[in-house]
């Protein structure tokens, strides 16, 4: 079977997986995930973060198993297993999902910009500029997208440090006694937490672009561990800083924490934080957008440039339908459900099917 193989000039080293995966995982969610998990599991929710980290690591190993030595991507696997038509339908749905994520990440970031910086800013214009930027990065090829993800890695790590204030002014007894929440709730909190870990499903798309893919597993796993520790750090910081009634009243707990940090030149740190977060948002959105265009490109063989302009127009026009905060919330919840199903149900199922199908095919070939 003829697999898709990109040119060597488009490929990147396996160690860059550390940056790529971290950049796709940490996006808009880091500003508000603490509230969501605390609403289910209380202040024992940090245990759910560790559990989610372990689960996603298992999923990463499964993805590596699915892709195998031949370094096939999602489209190849779908066609190999479900045939030409059904495989293409599945890939198409997956591409739509990726496009939606890339758009919703942008729109929810613009929501923050509107609330905090410029309430009277035109959202259409800003989204238009963002899409021009995204097309520019995506047309530069996979290497440019990864370059941006590389920057994003340092920005999120840098911003996480600024939660130190919580340890200075917080109350450690908020976290005690440990394990006071029913274990069922801790398990249930894995679902909203997984949304913040989404991004590893993209490996299935860009796997052919990684040089010596099989050796990248250790980088992918260390990236996942790094993400887990960033989330754990920020969750513990915020749980110490707020009490469990207060955190439910705040839309973006991290931004409120930054409100008390000030420097001689910056009255309030949250403005710096939101500004720097832009890079992380663009990196996440770009990777998703690039992946969705790659999906559609592989399906139809239209040129990548035309496809990206077409789909960015679709993404831009979505703003006419998503025009208030309730809709943003609704779509985010829907997408996170879809992502969790994809991650914890579809991918393991795909692996099982893959095992069976390849076993059967091998048997046939032997006969």
């Amino acid at each position: 079977m003829n697999h898709f193989k990109p040119d060597i000039s488009q490929m990147v080293s396996p160690f860059l997986l550390l940056y790529i995966i971290h950049a796709t995982q940490i996006g808009e969610g880091i500003l508000s995930f603490e509230r969501q998990i605390a609403s289910i599991a209380g202040f024992d929710a940090w245990i759910s973060i560790i559990l989610t980290g372990v689960l996603t690591t298992i999923i990463i190993v499964v993805i590596w198993k699915i892709i195998g030595d031949q370094q096939r991507d999602f489209m190849d696997i779908h066609q190999y297993m479900f045939g030409n038509i059904l495989g293409k339908i599945f890939t198409f749905i997956f591409g739509l999902y990726l496009l939606t994520v890339s758009v919703i990440v942008l729109i929810s970031y613009i929501e923050i910009i509107q609330i905090w910086f410029f309430p009277d800013m035109s959202i259409y214009f800003f989204l238009f500029v963002l899409f021009v930027l995204i097309i520019y990065i995506c047309l530069g090829g996979f290497r440019t997208v990864v370059g941006f993800a590389f920057f994003s890695f340092f920005v999120t790590a840098f911003l996480a440090i600024f939660k130190y204030e919580a340890f200075a002014a917080g109350h450690v007894h908020n976290l005690l006694p440990v394990f006071n929440t029913p274990f069922k709730d801790i398990i249930l909190a894995i679902e909203p937490m997984s949304f913040s870990f989404l991004g590893i499903e993209l490996i299935l798309i860009y796997a052919p672009f990684i040089h010596r893919f099989q050796s990248g597993l250790k980088w992918a796993i260390s990236s996942n561990i790094l993400t887990t520790s960033v989330y754990l750090f920020s969750a513990i910081a915020l749980f110490i800083y707020y009490n469990d009634q207060q955190i439910q009243l705040i839309s973006w707990p991290t931004l409120q924490l930054w409100k008390v940090i000030n420097f001689p030149i910056v009255e309030r740190f949250e403005y710096v934080g939101i500004g720097l977060h832009f890079i992380a948002i663009i990196a996440t959105s770009c990777l998703y957008f690039w992946a969705s265009i790659q999906c559609f490109h592989r399906l139809t063989n239209f040129s990548f440039r035309k496809m990206s302009i077409f789909f960015s127009l679709i993404g831009f026009s979505s703003i006419f339908f998503i025009h208030n905060f309730l809709m943003i919330e609704k779509i985010t919840t829907f997408i996170s459900r879809a992502g969790v199903i994809l991650l914890f149900a579809y991918i393991p199922l795909l692996y099982l099917c893959h095992k069976i199908v390849s076993g059967v095919k091998k048997k046939h070939a032997n006969n």
Binding site: H171, P177, N180, Q246, N262
Partner: protein
């Protein structure tokens, strides 16, 4: 191709201008302190905003203040009402102080506080205080001071937070208003002849002012509330008919639960004898004597304070929150019914580290 691109970039640059409202520092009215009062007749809040007046030339003295006031039922509406009196655009982004009149504090401050919390422009590290009498009269008075009124109040509270009163900014107040097993407290400002001073600490039950503790009890309260350093304590030694001063006090505070109904608040203090009035401490026995006397006195004062808190059913020392972290089956209802009967024992361990430069 190259020229088309150039044109595109130029057009983009043209479009980028004038998207949002510009805010130039000289052309906005920067509100730095807000004072709120309750008007029982009209059932509205009365807001007084103070913005600094910076000199337009070098000759003009700095430290001037503009005051505006307006009445409305919500925080945002007061701001827009004030706009009708101010020549420039009113901005609240640089707010550094919020004051409440005594009457409003007794009625409850949570309405205003929650209104302030919803404005993304406002920071969390700002000082909140109660004013003896009306906030409006305090803010409208002309004082002869070097700083602007807003900066004066900020510096006054900030500096005292290091030594006399525990720190309480807007975030801490929110934390105590929403949390279980704790009650907030706020410093009370008083207008004196031509200045402002901190008169007391106002203890609140939920969001209502119920009790005030005077300057004499600040030290004991802070001792039982948090770790502190750099304090001065005046000790009246009745048995020897002397008054000595002890300073540079560092203390660490910890809560020990004996059982669900018995708790010890332990404070380990170390300090210097700064004003002994020729008493001197020559040998170990004298050192132990004075240490024990100070500890006993502080324990007595602490017990009195805690008794008062239990009587009023308020918990500014956050003992309930500590119990929540200690006992697995802690519930708010059970705690609230038990709190007045719990045995709270302050235990003070005083250690005299150094003597002074005079023998």
């Amino acid at each position: 191709m190259q020229t088309t691109r150039m044109y595109l970039i130029l057009i983009c640059c043209l479009l980028l201008t004038g998207c949002v409202k510009t805010k130039i520092l000289d052309d906005i009215e920067l509100i730095m302190t807000y004072g709120y009062d309750w008007d029982p007749a009209a059932e509205t809040y009365k807001g007084t905003a103070v913005s600094p007046l910076y000199g337009k030339s070098e000759q003009m003295e700095i430290g001037g203040n503009f005051r505006y006031s307006g009445s409305a039922k919500t925080f945002q509406d007061i701001s827009s009402f004030i706009q009708t009196k101010a020549p420039y655009q009113v901005e609240v982004g640089n707010l550094i102080g919020i004051l409440f009149g005594e009457e409003l504090a007794k009625k409850g401050v949570s309405d205003i506080i929650y209104g302030i919390n919803e404005d993304p422009n406002i920071g969390r590290d700002l000082n909140v205080a109660i004013v003896e009498g009306e906030a409006e009269t305090l803010l409208k008075q002309d004082y002869n001071m070097e700083l602007t009124l807003s900066r004066f109040i900020e510096e006054l509270i900030n500096n005292n937070s290091k030594s006399n009163i525990p720190k309480m900014n807007l975030h801490d107040l929110n934390y105590r208003l929403t949390g279980e097993g704790m009650d907030p407290f706020l410093p009370i400002l008083r207008q004196s002849e031509d200045s402002i001073d901190i008169a007391a600490i106002g203890m609140m039950k939920d969001d209502k002012l119920v009790h005030e503790i005077p300057y004499e009890q600040f030290f004991v309260f802070k001792l039982l509330y948090e770790d502190c350093e750099d304090h001065t304590y005046e000790f009246d030694w009745e048995e020897k008919k002397r008054t000595v001063a002890i300073s540079s006090i560092r203390s660490t505070r910890s809560i020990h639960w004996k059982s669900k109904k018995e708790v010890v608040i332990k404070a380990d203090i170390s300090g210097t004898l700064t004003e002994s009035k020729n008493m001197g401490v020559k040998n170990f026995q004298e050192k132990i004597d004075i240490e024990q006397a100070v500890s006993k006195k502080l324990e007595e004062e602490g017990t009195k304070l805690v008794k008062k808190f239990q009587e009023l059913d308020i918990d500014p020392l956050m003992i309930g929150a500590s119990a929540k972290g200690k006992f697995r089956d802690w519930t708010v209802k059970e705690w609230e019914s038990q709190y007045p009967e719990i045995k709270i024992t302050p235990s003070v361990d005083f250690n005299l580290d150094l003597s002074n430069i005079i023998q």
